[in-house]
């Protein structure tokens, strides 16, 4: 007979889980509940008092065309940066997986950007992309006024997308590479013996077997691009020029922390949270169908 080790009572089990549950409660549910409460009130920043206002914070936001523009902008940012960072990471991982010269080095080096804090990263890219003094200023010497993130909204958006994608390429790379290395060599060798070239093998064997990883990274990247971009935006563009890079999450940060409008920021956080939840549901509902788990 099989021997199982189980806890004799539920109480002991809960006791072991308690520290973790407590952490989750303190750092996740409590702040979320607080934000939810503030979203329905007008909260004085110094804590002098607050008034229940129902849905008025949400109504103000949803009636504001500029808020909707920031939603659209967040989608543009999220989709482009996810496409770039996943695409680049996949290419790098496929090349590394082919054991080209130096692949051992790449395997450990590519994760580094992910460890850099967003503000430091933004600072570095601000120097690189500055139109007059940065590394990219050569472009302007050849074609004057072609590149100017300080004044051209499109350039500014491209700049923050590049900076954000660069950070996540390393993260995605690690996942892709480990998934690629999990594919049985025998499959690839068999295909090679049958005469399939590298491109054919990628398309028919590696990519289909990567779909669970692709799907996982898609969810993570979309979610992170909606939440993790404010540090980069704050350092590089502060949402400008003329709101061209004012993403939803940056507006939350600015209104809450600089403008001390805690309730407005809380309402925006709730809307952002709902949006991310909807996006995730959408992805599970419609994209997951095409994923082949084993």
């Amino acid at each position: 007979m099989e021997k199982r080790v189980t806890f004799s009572t539920t109480a002991i089990g809960l006791l072991f889980a308690a520290p973790m549950l407590l952490l989750i409660f303190v750092f996740f549910y409590w702040p979320s509940a607080q934000a939810l409460y503030w979203a329905f009130t007008l909260e004085q920043p110094w804590g002098g008092g607050n008034r229940w206002v129902g849905f008025s914070n949400f109504r103000q936001l949803l009636e504001d065309p500029i808020y909707w523009q920031s939603v659209t902008r967040s989608f543009v940012f999220g989709i482009s940066s996810t496409a770039i960072s996943m695409g680049m990471a996949l290419i790098l991982a496929l090349l590394t997986d082919r054991e080209l010269a130096g692949h051992r080095l790449y395997r450990s080096v590519f994760i580094w950007p992910y460890a850099i804090a967003a503000p430091a990263l933004g600072l570095a890219f601000r120097f690189i992309l500055a139109p007059e003094a940065g590394l990219l200023s050569v472009i302007n010497r050849v074609w004057p006024d072609l590149w100017n993130p300080a004044l051209d909204g499109k350039d500014a958006m491209i700049a923050v997308i590049i900076a954000f994608s660069w950070k996540y390429i390393g993260y995605n790379f690690i996942f892709f590479l480990s998934a690629l290395q999990g594919i049985p060599r025998a499959l690839i060798e068999a295909a090679a013996i049958d005469g399939a070239g590298p491109m054919r093998r990628i398309r028919d064997i590696q990519l289909p077997l990567l779909t669970p990883t692709l799907f996982f990274l898609l969810i993570i990247n979309i979610t992170e691009s909606f939440q993790d971009s404010f540090g980069i935006v704050d350092v590089m563009t502060q949402g400008g020029p003329a709101r061209a890079t004012e993403l939803m999450v940056y507006k939350i940060y600015f209104d809450g922390f600089k403008g001390l409008d805690y309730s407005g920021a809380a309402a925006q956080s709730i809307l952002l949270m709902l949006l991310v939840i909807l996006l995730t549901i959408f992805q599970f509902r419609f994209i997951e169908r095409r994923v082949h788990y084993k």
Partner: protein, 452 residues
């Protein structure tokens, strides 16, 4: 049995803590002071704290920089909400209204009276005390680091166009910029339109030319103020001028995103004129290109407008509620120390900030401070702040809720005008309308709270 043991152990522990607590109190009363300045200024504040701590043996003030005005305010608020607030907190001009309405502080005038100090409040420069005083003229906080905007100009470049003085009006300045451009200078006026740098071109411009930014004396008389800057003929006309200079290449946008801020550009000799705080005077003096001759002047006025006092910028010190009498005694002693004329001299020497009291200013003058080369010119900041006299009726500052958000709206409008060629009037109208929504929201948040 077990519980009893535990209880007695806890009791012993408690007694021990209390004993050690009172022992420490017998030595020195420690208080916390949080401020937002960083870099060199933070070091100077620290030195000031050290001087106070060494000047007497009863109190010790522990000064901690929080990195920036915004961060300092956020941290102070978070600490206050958790009941762990510092005794003294620095709050910048933009955060003044929120704390004033919060009731979270011990009014400065009350504190000094309760602790037995007789402070001559009229010793403060009217332009400075006016900014931080209530509508009844009471001081709830101590002006600390104060500055205002000045016109910085490169004397060498202006000499090339046969000018030996800075322009007194913007019309004269326009001619100068045109001439400088014709003389081959790439950047006659360097400026920026990001939200941290538009105060010179909107708030200070309105102050100097005597136009209101908002009704109800820029908000000093009530939370029901409305923004009106977009209806002011001088400001609208000035922004149009600025845009035409920009289009003609006589004014150039310089900021971190382009690779060089306008202050750096001026110090490097790349831009020939800028508007910035007197607080940058020391910095520019240290970083200016070898041999460059430069000077400062009061901001130009516009057309026929009479010159009014400019607004003070910087921050003031607030005493927060929830501390013991001993700690408040320490705070009062610290403020008394800061008020000494000798401290004003040291402070103005090592930073670019101006003295905040007449007595401090007089002491600096008597010491010949403003005659010496690196400091000469800074007296113009005082002149600029006091030009209207003490009892002029114009607003002495801006007291609007969500000021940083309003600045951002104005900055967005200016960026639309300069980067996207949007209509000046329509953009400013849009900013005022959105700003008014912010004000209404702020008033709604503090419904039932009277503006002191």
């Amino acid at each position: 049995m077990k519980t009893k043991l535990l209880l007695s152990a806890a009791g012993a522990l408690l007694a021990a803590t209390l004993a050690s607590g009172s022992a420490a109190a017998a030595e020195k009363t420690k208080i916390d002071f949080w401020f937002g300045n960083s870099g060199d200024i933070a070091k100077r504040v620290q030195e000031q704290c050290d001087r106070f701590n060494q000047s007497q043996g009863d109190y010790e003030v522990v000064c901690t920089s929080q990195g920036s005005y915004d961060a300092s305010l956020q941290n102070t608020i978070a600490a206050f909400r958790a009941g762990k607030q510092p005794t003294i907190a620095q709050v910048s001009d933009a955060g003044t209204l929120d704390i004033m309405l919060s009731g979270a502080f011990y009014p400065a005038n009350q504190l000094m009276k309760d602790m037995g100090y007789d402070v001559n409040w009229s010793d403060y420069f009217s332009g400075i005390s006016g900014y931080y005083a209530t509508s009844k003229g009471e001081m709830y906080s101590f002006p600390f680091n104060s500055s205002t905007a000045l016109f910085y100009w490169n004397k060498d470049a202006f000499a090339k166009i046969d000018k030996d003085h800075a322009p007194a009006t913007w019309q004269e300045a326009a001619e100068d910029f045109k001439a400088l451009k014709a003389a081959g200078y790439a950047c006659p006026l360097g400026f920026d339109i990001s939200n941290n740098e538009i105060w010179q071109y909107v708030e200070q411009f309105e102050a100097v030319n005597g136009e209101p930014i908002a009704t109800r004396k820029n908000g000093f008389e009530g939370l029901d103020a409305d923004l009106v800057f977009n209806k002011n003929p001088l400001l609208v006309s000035f922004i149009k001028d600025l845009k035409s200079w920009y289009d003609a290449g006589a004014a150039v946008i310089k900021n971190k995103a382009t690779g060089q801020t306008f202050v750096e550009a001026f110090a490097a000799g790349d831009c020939q004129a800028i508007l910035t705080s007197v607080g940058d005077h020391g910095n520019i003096g240290r970083t200016a290109k070898e041999g460059m001759n430069w000077g400062v002047a009061m901001l130009p006025t516009y057309g026929e407008a009479k010159r009014h006092s400019s607004f003070v910028g910087g921050a003031s010190l607030w005493v927060l509620k929830g501390h013991s009498d001993a700690e408040y005694k320490a705070a009062a002693a610290f403020f008394n120390f800061l008020a000494k004329p000798e401290e004003a001299l040291t402070w103005s020497t090592v930073t670019g900030y101006i003295p905040v009291r007449n007595s401090g200013y007089d002491y600096l003058v008597s010491q010949g401070f403003y005659e010496k080369a690196p400091y000469a010119g800074r007296e113009l900041a005082i002149k600029s702040l006091t030009v209207s006299g003490a009892d002029h009726s114009a607003a002495k500052g801006i007291r609007l809720g969500g000021l940083l958000q309003i600045r951002k709206e104005i900055a967005n409008a200016l960026q639309d005008i300069f980067a996207n060629n949007k209509d000046v009037q329509a953009s400013l109208d849009g900013a005022a309308e959105r700003g008014n929504q912010l004000l209404a929201r702020f008033a709604e948040t503090y419904k039932g709270v009277a503006l002191p």
